[in-house]
Symmetry: C2
Subunit: 166 residues, 2 copies
DNA sequence: TATCGTATGTAATATCATAACATGTCAAGC
DNA sequence: GCTTGACATGTTATGATATTACATACGATA
């Protein structure tokens, strides 16, 4: 029952109560599924749990391996389909730069995240980026483009790694 | 010698003088290479030309195929290395969402581009997005993240395709 | 209980990317 | 001129990521 504090490769660069944030995100995902009539089936639920537990960006094959160990299907589409569902529902995000997926830390709440990927420790921080999205919307408007999905990703060094590198 | 106007899948959604923009980008890439002491060798030069000529996002294997036809190497690293060079020099961009590359329309000039990808016609528009980058920098600053590279990509419908879909 | 839509599973394959190593090219220094 | 070292190009082989096509199961509902 003790909170699982972590300072390393996590979805945020700060120490935090991992068990709490994971449980909370899961609870919200359940409530949202219920509300929307989306079917959070066992594979999908377990996939989200895996993302939340690992607390980092995982490749589809990493997820698949865990699912297979637990008696779910062993073939790639099993993982890709579950992950796709989670992304569609806003319960997870796809990090294109890493060919990987992370659990969303704020499912349901209006949020337009940007991702900051540390090239040293591989941690991925999901930051609220309302202003970035607004600027993006404006740029789209200028060229008459109708945005449907957005990926905002930056590669660099997180604070801890930058200090360590000095 | 007549300018090659195009209204379909292009690097911008607007009609424009393709021959002009391609030649101009090539000339700037040459000048910049000279200035920086970067070696714009035959494969690299030809790779850039291929991107400029096609005027859309091309996968590494698309590029490779053309290079191979013209007597260059036939194996993936040939294309990936040339493309990597171009991206490093700022002569091309990598579009992660498409696993593809496009020639940069503004090599050398300070620019922080965002990419707008039409899911209908597959055209990719490179838009100046200074404001988006500024917002991104600010978000990074808040979490103490040192940005090195950024990918700003949006998927949606370009103006022409949105009208056609009505 | 028949049917339809959706979800899950499999096999097979397609697509994208890199590691490891051999050869070629060219300029700097002896 | 030759050697050396840095870099570029090429190859083989393999790894990593993702999708297509099809079979089976499940659940709601008419």
């Amino acid at each position: 029952m003790s909170p699982n504090f972590t300072a390393d490769a996590g979805l945020a660069f700060e120490r935090h109560d991992h068990a709490h944030c994971a449980g909370s995100a899961m609870a919200r995902a359940e409530a949202l599924s219920e509300a929307k009539g989306a079917r959070l089936t066992p594979v999908r639920r377990r996939t989200l749990e895996i993302l939340l537990e690992s607390h980092r960006a995982l490749g589809a094959y990493d997820v698949l391996e865990k699912l297979a160990e637990e008696g779910f299907g062993k073939q790639p589409p099993v993982a890709y389909r579950a992950l796709e569902f989670l992304v569609e529902q806003g319960f997870a995000h796809r990090i294109r730069r890493l060919n990987a997926f992370t659990a969303c830390m704020n499912p349901g709440t209006a949020h337009r995240p940007a991702f900051f990927i540390c090239r040293s420790c591989s941690a991925v921080a999901e930051a609220q980026a309302e202003a970035v999205r607004t600027a993006m919307d404006r740029a789209a408007e200028e060229i008459g483009f109708a945005i449907e999905r957005v990926n905002l990703e930056a590669l660099g060094l997180c604070h801890a790694c930058a200090e360590a590198a000095e």
